[in-house]
């Protein structure tokens, strides 16, 4: 698993990363790191370590909706049968989280309904 130890030797200054656009990207002007590329990485990837400030990015409803709109053209892609990200553990874990929350809420509703219907058995 560990990389060969030559990495220590190769730590001389590397040229700063730059957007690369080969001649194969035809017709469109090069776009240096578009917003969607950055957002999908800084919001959806990267190391998750809980800090002292607890903010679950996924709790932020409006943000989630907007980002979904911006980052994932899900409908169109699914229509075409492109759904491989469903198997991406990082993305599907979010969905599992929502499913779990959904389940909890439904259980709670049933509980409440059971409670109230027990009381008000109107004839």
């Amino acid at each position: 698993m560990t990389q060969s130890p030559d990495a220590a030797g190769s730590s001389q200054p590397v040229a700063a990363p730059r957007p690369y656009n080969p001649p194969t990207s035809r017709s469109q002007p090069p776009q240096p790191a578009n917003l969607a590329d950055i957002l999908e990485r800084v919001l959806d990837k990267g190391i998750i370590i809980a800090g002292d400030i607890r903010v679950n990015l996924l709790d932020i409803e409006l943000l989630t909706i907007k980002i979904r709109l911006l980052v994932a053209s899900v409908d169109k892609a699914e229509e075409m049968g492109i759904d491989w990200w469903r198997n991406d553990p990082m993305l599907s874990s979010r969905e599992e989280g929502l499913t779990e929350e959904n389940r909890r809420l439904q259980a709670r509703i049933e509980e409440l309904e059971a409670g109230s219907s027990g009381d008000s058995s109107d004839g």
């Binding site: 800090g51 053209s73 492109i82």
Partner: protein, 257 residues
């Protein structure tokens, strides 16, 4: 600044002190290195009025603010990744003080070390493929409609054949994208498929059929890009776009301890 907190951008090791001299943090703050047991967190002060739990909750709803923070975060991560192995942290990882930062480095030492091992000497490349523009198909419109049936029937026939053609083209594009991905996965150390992006953001009219992230040894970058170009040439029906190198956002992940 009211009460300052410590915003964490990335964890690294062997980062030379001068490496970030030309880089500033969010809101133009000075970058500091907090070290613990050979791991170093790149941090800066942030105002907890803005970056506290309440502040973040409301600010994150503001896309312009989010974009500024996302780009600022990425800029620092890029600078770190240019000089040392880097594990980028997710946006808005914030501790109250340096002791908090150090305790995270201690707590997550082993998984962080392993993550850095995985990405050391490697970079992430993004390769996307789009279907071509929706066909203008002037040639087809010019085709003489068959004589049988009226104008309405001819119209419906033409419509149907256009739909069929589009569907066939889409299927072909998906297959081509899978082939491109397979070839690039073979040319990289690891690969991940990301969700397709909306055309409103990418500026492409065609549908994104591939949004792949590939972890490539720094020494193999040229060969990888050459492979991507070869794939683009082999699949003229796709527009292939290569971007990078990125810091290894998609590959620096923690194995749960």
């Amino acid at each position: 600044m009211a009460e300052p907190g410590r915003y964490l951008y990335a964890v690294s090791r062997g980062l030379e002190p001068g490496a970030l001299a030309a880089t500033r943090g969010l809101d133009d703050a000075r970058l500091d290195l907090v070290e613990k047991d050979g791991l170093v967190a790149v941090v800066s002060d942030v105002d907890l009025d803005v970056y506290g739990e309440e502040g973040l909750r409301s600010h994150l709803e503001d896309l312009a603010w989010l974009e500024r923070v996302a780009r600022g975060h990425d800029e620092v991560v890029q600078a770190v990744a240019a000089s040392a192995p880097t594990a980028p942290l997710r946006l808005a990882t914030i501790c109250l003080d340096d002791d908090g930062v150090r305790s995270r480095l201690r707590e997550w030492h082993e998984p962080l070390r392993q993550a850095l091992d995985r990405v050391e000497g490697r970079r992430e490349w993004s390769v996307k493929a789009y279907t071509g523009r929706p066909a203008d198909a002037p040639a087809q419109d010019a085709q003489a409609a068959p004589v049988t049936g009226g104008a309405g029937a001819a119209y419906l026939r033409r419509k149907r054949s256009q739909t069929d053609e589009r569907r066939a083209a889409e299927e072909q594009a998906v297959e081509a994208a899978s082939a491109v991905h397979a070839a690039l996965a073979a040319a990289s150390v690891a690969s991940r498929l990301l969700a397709a992006q909306d055309p409103r953001l990418t500026g492409h009219e065609g549908t994104m059929t591939l949004n792949g992230a590939y972890l490539v040894a720094a020494d193999d970058a040229e060969a990888f890009v050459a492979e991507a170009e070869r794939q683009a040439a082999d699949h003229p029906d796709l527009q292939v776009e290569v971007n990078g190198p990125w810091p290894p956002y998609s590959f620096a992940t923690l194995d749960q301890p």
